[in-house]
Symmetry: D2
Subunit: 294 residues, 4 copies
């Protein structure tokens, strides 16, 4: 039984953008006011085929050079009078391998995506409903919930589930259209040991998800891999009613942004959050390099 | 003979960011002031394997669904109590196929990249000098040079090369750290006929490139495929001294952003320009979805 | 209305190999006797990203070097005391782009694959029925139908459909378990002009397909792209009852091998035909390099 | 110091095929005589993204369905009157991940490949010397050295290095043009534990490599990953003079075939060995499905 109303009524029957619709021009202009120093910080991890936090078993990005300086060193002729060029290709499955944003077609229950769009429209040639190309860019106020700092920890333990009251304690003043940025610190464990990283993950509790949805955030972003927590088999433990992806993405149309690198934001409370997912037609999400303008 | 000094002196001997260094916190804060209405516009084309402007012969992006709604329609069991998920992968060679930003390792002459970095460091496993992961995010004032509108045309003809004086006529007040956004209108020809799109491309003249470099722009962005113009064989006609990539990218460290979609910006003079290249380690560039905050 | 019985009765209800079951040890041993000179000829085209016959709009193979001699020329350190290595990756969509063999899951009508296997088992993670890994290797007598040579032509015209009586005229003595190798000569047009290659393709008529099926061939192989002919839109003109893929692959379980290069077999009547599809689990086919032992 | 003469004198200064040149028509005809029962056995492992023996850290094959039965179950319209089709793509880096054959450009020392071909010709766009497309098909007598069976073991231990005298004991009668097929049984450890599989690998000793080279075998094939043995870091322990790839591939032009599945050949002494590498232009090798005709 679904306990949350979805956004159908609020955004109209054809809505494929969910709460990104909250990013009206007024909200965007207000958000720009959160920049105080003008420092721009990347919140993404590098895209690499080794040595970066990722979910076990997922295919890591592959980066191929189609032309490079080595070819010229080996005697390849330049173009025309001497132009030299490097070219490359990227193969990427972003979920679980790098910083990315989920499309509204990424998860659902039953036969319908967010807002009643038919799941049967998500096919091998892409999603013709709720694909990431529908999302548009995110320009919003980012509100940092630095949970481990609040608790005096380097990072949360794997089994920690963040409660709504803790979120409220940290940041009672979340506004509609804000992006809630949840720091767990979990990526710090990767350096110590990939096995520790894979032992589970801390994340939001279901009531924290509902608390954020009730505050009409435009998106929820976190440095963990699934917004909610994960067990040692890298699965969510919640049942369907309490699953964080279903609460946020499926029922409320709240875009999720995962696997951020938030370690450069220590001490920051709010900032301008910008994310621009690639317009991959029919994509279930996109690798992104979110920026914080502090 | 190279006639331009490069940026070596200005940004220091190890600089791998070029003019993006001009995006100091002060410049960023000033740029945010260019947003007037708060409207956010995507300046990218969709990422697709057909039906989009691209250079002939380049491998178009491939998008594969690793799991989709069709699988559930066919009887695939959901995860746990009923969670359904769609997953995908993207294979992309961004140069010439989609909206993208060039890294400083993308083009050079001789044995050195921008700022004397050895071209021999650009190898099959990626560029360990001047890769796109060095660039960081672009938050700047975008200054639109809508050349066809200025000339009363829908789009420039293929052989048109934009002069410095025309740029000056349109926008004399370019400031250091601005992103010069050059509209040629050429993507409009694609709809009429891919063959027309492939017949050549309008672009900047060498003196226009030098004029922009002299004004210390942070980046040059255009809706054509190569900033400079192209002939019918999709090559630049300039010699090495006058090649636009060499003038801008190689000698001045000015990042180039190509294959934009600028048709939504009619009538806009300046705006906040945001581009966040994926942090592909060693990449020669990145597909991007640049945003204009108008 | 389907007019042909399928192979259900002959090979048993679980059969996923179709007529390759005809390749019993006895048939294989007999086939080896067709080698007279011991000359081994490759019947495949090169795998390349340009300059090879392919169906328009299909994604050509991409070949990336992950490590190469250029890297060492550029100063990369060898392994240990001096071992140097080159490594690569291949991205290939074989249908329509290179010499390949179709799995029995490649085409069907209604809801069932060959032999009643449910089409719903062909999912994003591969076909769990009738995938190419079920096929096994082909070692058979190849019987060459050199149609243009028989007619005194270099190659058949695009609209030519080969009749059963013509096949019978060329080779009345086809035996159960033989591979029928149909030369149209169409790949010769590619060199003259890709546009001519794309103007249509000659191929088998429906009655020729039925004639071959009635003779219990193990597979049908051709130098065209679809066994049957194609129109200028690269589609088959036959209705469902007469579609060559449905007659051969779907109803009779006859594996199809397409886009061969047969120009080296002039004057040969029969030979040992060997094809070893990669054991791609759940694959709809495989790129192959078929060998003729003449 | 290199102690073996290479094949330069024997096969001529332009030779890019090495000992595959030994597969003259006469040798091929003689080899076909090794088939006694007509049983055809695949010697390859399945191509999969999980659950198969592979070297740790290598990118496993990725198989994507571009169109499948799920799409039709979800309501996708068939082609024309009802034709349904499944299509797919494969991304594969064959070395270390699946059954494959090495090209002569795969390994070398110094600046020259096998037979003095310049290593600088192995570039990002492929090897223009000694690429796998030069190899052609292998049709030869396969001679099985079932080392663990000879020693009364299930499989050799990781540190075992097979001596020349042991090879001689098992099969003194190797002939020029034979393919030496070396069974170590090591893939059996995978089922027990991937970690055991990764703890090292048994393989040929340098003197065994020289013994085979002196007998003019056309190729050496094994069920291990590198013909020679590997330590726990998945590297060869031999110095350059004794490295198995350098002895066989580099100095003698003997093609190597690795990661076979040989468990179906128990009790067989010789057979027809067929391998048909894909004609990947400039490739460093190819995934293959070698066949044994017993």
């Amino acid at each position: 039984m679904v306990t949350e109303p979805n956004n159908w009524g609020r955004f109209g029957p054809d809505d494929q953008r969910g709460t990104l619709n909250l990013l009206t021009p007024e909200v965007v202009l207000r958000a720009l006011g959160s920049a105080r120093t003008g420092r721009v910080v990347s919140l993404s991890m590098p895209i690499r085929d080794r040595g970066v936090p990722h979910l076990r078993g997922r295919p890591l990005p592959q980066h191929f050079m189609a032309l490079d300086g080595g070819d010229y060193a080996a005697g390849m002729r330049p173009i025309g009078a001497g132009l030299r060029v490097a070219d490359d290709a990227l193969v990427v499955s972003h979920h679980g391998t790098t910083t990315h944003m989920d499309a509204l077609c990424h998860m659902w229950e039953g036969d319908e995506l967010y807002n009643g769009h038919p799941a049967a429209r998500v096919r091998s040639y892409g999603a013709t409903r709720c694909g990431i190309e529908q999302a548009g860019g995110v320009v919003a106020r980012g509100v940092l919930f630095d949970v481990p700092a609040h608790l005096g920890l380097d990072h949360l333990p794997a089994s920690y589930r963040i409660s709504a009251s803790l979120l409220e304690e940290i940041h009672a003043d979340v506004l509609p259209g804000d992006v809630a940025v949840i720091r767990t610190g979990w990526p710090l464990t990767w350096e110590r040991s990939p096995d520790e990283y894979w032992s589970g993950q801390p994340g939001l509790s279901a009531d924290a998800g509902r608390w954020l949805a009730a505050r009409d955030v435009a998106a929820v972003a976190s440095d963990n891999a699934a917004i909610g927590g994960l067990n040692a088999r890298q699965l969510a433990d919640e049942d369907l009613a309490d699953d964080l992806h279903l609460i946020l993405l499926h029922r409320h149309g709240i875009h999720l942004i995962e696997m951020l690198w938030l370690e450069e934001l220590a001490g920051v409370r709010d900032f301008v959050f910008v994310a621009a997912p690639l317009r991959i037609e029919g994509g279930t999400g996109s690798p992104i390099n979110p920026l914080a303008i502090v």
